[in-house]
């Protein structure tokens, strides 16, 4: 995944850092990470060439779904990360893969690399 540009949206700094390091170690270029909904939307709107994204569903109390909708409409693949039960995810994202916290980095890299 050496040429892939990956967006990380995760509100917990330590977890975002963890993912960043893991993905960079796998050769990806990380965009972000960003920890709030507003920054994530701004990032998606302003940065071109995002190949894939990992989205934490709960961003300091706000749901990440508006970002997910933007990515979906642009055909950018992404992965949800959540500490909640996955049954609360809206039906329109039923086909989006979900990783539960704590995130298995190997699984994350495999998903974003394909």
């Amino acid at each position: 995944m050496s040429d892939r540009r990956l967006l990380i949206v995760e509100d917990e700094y330590l977890l975002a850092e963890d993912m960043r390091q893991a993905l960079e170690a796998a050769g990806a270029t990380v965009i972000g990470p960003v920890g709030t909904l507003a920054r994530a939307i701004a990032m998606v709107d302003s940065v071109a060439g995002i190949d894939a994204a990992v989205l934490d569903i709960n961003l300091a109390g706000e749901a990440v779904y508006p970002v997910a909708e933007k990515l979906l409409s642009r055909g950018v693949p992404f992965v949800f990360v959540t500490g909640y039960e996955t049954d609360a995810i809206p039906k329109c994202f039923a086909r989006v893969p979900v990783l539960e916290k704590p995130v298995d980095m190997i699984a994350l890299i495999r998903m974003l690399g394909s």
Binding site: E12, L14, E17, K101
Partner: protein
């Protein structure tokens, strides 16, 4: 007739005479035993007697002794039978229906006797005109305990209870029966052993044997039924009191029309409307109007299902006149008649709004706990990772990792002890961290100045606590508290700008000499310089000045 050899005609005549004569004997014996000539015809007897008498005359004229003797005996026997017949005819002379009808009457009387004697559940007895007991049948013995021999001839008053006797009820009852042809006898009576039995019966006047007026009393012992009915009535009253007292709505509907037939008072507190308002007019429609439009169909469907004989439990929302929404849980059941048809629909409705809120809240809390736990584990893993990267040895890793886990554990403890509207305060957090590192032990080395009770947003507390932990650890290991004479001053204040509050924290260590300004950039610095801005929108500055570390954190407190 003379001569040795008996004439053949004499032999035949003698045998014939014997047979015809003897033939009357059984008939006469029967008449003797029964005292009646039965159904023999008087005319036939008279003609037969005349004929036999003529035979005697014939025998005299002929000089035939056998004929004379035989017919004389027969005539005597016939006359005896005739005497019975004539006596009977005189006595029954007035009887309109002699003969076979007498027998039918006897059979009928026999049947009545058997009925009366066999009716053991009915007390049947007769009295004379003064109320003295005459006939006393088995059923009366079963109900009152007295045998016929014990009670015959005694006044029937003794079957009345004391208070009725005092009031003169026995005489009044007989007087009523005599005047009206019947008197009801529905009251408590007295058993021989003193207990009371409730009799439902009547008294009618009859003609007694002696042709005098008497009374017939027929009654049924309904004590057991009456007790059962009373118990049932009392149970009904008790259940009604439960319904009245219940905070749940107890209601009954007509199964055919589904209209309310009853609703307990709590209907009014639950639905917030007067029951009379709902009961006036079509109570089903008025009730449905109280239900949230989305829930009306299912509520009605549930009640209709009960009409089919099923039990149902359903939940629906109602809107009270004051606009508040309440959740009701109804448990409905069919009320059947003896034939198993559903005649009523019964139900118990409970206001479960509070329970529902509590369970909703619990569901949110459980989700939140799970979320936080998973996040916390992820943070622990990230801390382990970071600590592993900066540690020079496994011993150092263990020491630093344990210290960071302690900090995490302290802040989790503070968060978990909060009430609903409480928040962790900055001074609380600072004091806990400094105390954990022993930095408050010598008051001369530390100066804390700032308002107490500055509340931090809960989602920021954990990262903030970890940052303070790193500052304190650094101070103890490499900073002001690592050398004698070192000093720490922490000042904080709240500034309101553009309607939003900001907390300024100034951490100033002094007392050190010749510090390396480009010292380590470990996790502590990373948390302050990167994590706080990233996660809390904080502005931070971390600098190693000439005499010690100086750290400034400006943190938004929100509204």
């Amino acid at each position: 007739m003379t001569g040795r050899c008996v004439d053949l005609s004499t032999v035949i005549g003698t045998v014939a005479a014997f047979c015809t004569t003897v033939s009357y004997v059984p008939q006469l014996k029967k008449c003797w035993d029964t005292g009646s000539a039965g159904d023999l015809s008087l005319r036939m007897l008279l003609i037969l007697a005349s004929g036999v008498a003529l035979w005697i005359g014939y025998g005299v004229l002929k000089g035939d002794l056998v004929i004379i003797l035989a017919n004389a005996v027969s005539l005597a026997l016939l006359l005896a039978i005739l005497a019975f017949k004539l006596r009977e005819g005189g006595r029954a002379g007035a009887a309109a229906r002699p003969g076979p009808h007498d027998d039918a009457l006897r059979r009928s009387e026999e049947r009545y006797r058997k009925v009366v004697e066999g009716a053991r559940d009915y007390a049947i007895f007769t009295t004379d005109g003064e109320g003295r007991i005459a006939d006393w049948y088995e059923g009366a013995t079963a109900v009152f305990g007295w045998t016929a021999d014990e009670i015959r001839g005694r006044p029937s008053d003794l079957l009345f209870v004391e208070e009725d006797r005092v009031r003169g009820e026995p005489a009044r009852e007989l007087a009523t029966a005599a005047a009206n042809g019947v008197a009801p006898d529905v009251r408590w009576h007295l058993h021989k052993d003193g207990r009371r039995v409730f009799i439902e019966g009547r008294v009618v006047p009859i003609d007694s044997d002696a042709g005098q007026r008497g009374f017939l009393k027929i009654g049924q012992d309904v004590t057991a039924r009456r007790r059962a009915e009373r118990a049932l009535r009392q149970m009904g009253e008790r259940v009604a009191r439960f319904a009245e007292a219940s905070s749940d709505v107890v209601w009954i509907r007509n199964a055919a029309t589904l209209q309310f037939e009853f609703a307990s008072p709590s209907f009014e507190t639950t639905y917030g409307v007067d029951r009379r308002h709902v009961f006036a007019g079509n109570s089903l429609r008025r009730w449905l109007r109280l239900i949230h439009p989305e829930d009306r169909a299912s509520a009605l469907g549930s009640i209709r299902a009960v009409r089919e004989g099923r039990r149902t439990t359903h939940e629906f929302r109602i809107r009270r006149p004051d606009g508040t929404l309440r959740w009701i849980k109804d448990t409905d059941f069919p009320v059947l008649d003896d034939a198993g048809r559903v005649v009523e629909v019964g139900g118990i409705g409970a206001d479960i709004t509070d329970e529902k809120r509590a369970s909703d809240r619990l569901r949110v809390l459980v989700r939140e706990v799970q979320h936080r736990t998973r996040n916390l584990i992820a943070v622990v893993m990230a801390l382990a990772d970071s600590t592993g990267r900066e540690a020079a040895s496994i011993g150092q890793f263990r020491e630093r990792f344990a210290a960071r886990m302690s900090a995490l554990s302290r802040v989790q403890g503070m968060l978990s002890q909060l009430g609903d509207d409480e928040q962790v305060t900055f001074d609380g957090l600072l004091n806990a961290e400094l105390a954990a590192h022993g930095m408050l032990d010598d008051p001369s080395r530390v100066a804390l100045a700032g308002p107490s009770g500055v509340r931090l947003r809960s989602r920021n507390v954990q990262t903030f606590a970890l940052a303070l932990h790193e500052l304190a650890t650094n101070a103890v290991k490499h900073g002001a508290f690592a050398v004698p004479g070192g000093h720490l001053a922490v000042h904080w204040w709240v500034e309101i700008m553009d309607g939003s509050a900001k907390l300024h924290v100034d951490w100033q260590e002094t007392g050190l000499q010749g510090l390396d300004r480009h010292a380590r950039s470990g996790l502590g610095r990373q948390l302050i310089e990167r994590a706080l801005p990233y996660q809390m929108d904080a502005e931070t500055r971390y600098s190693i000045e000439e005499h010690g570390v100086h750290c400034v954190i400006v943190l938004s407190l929100g509204r």
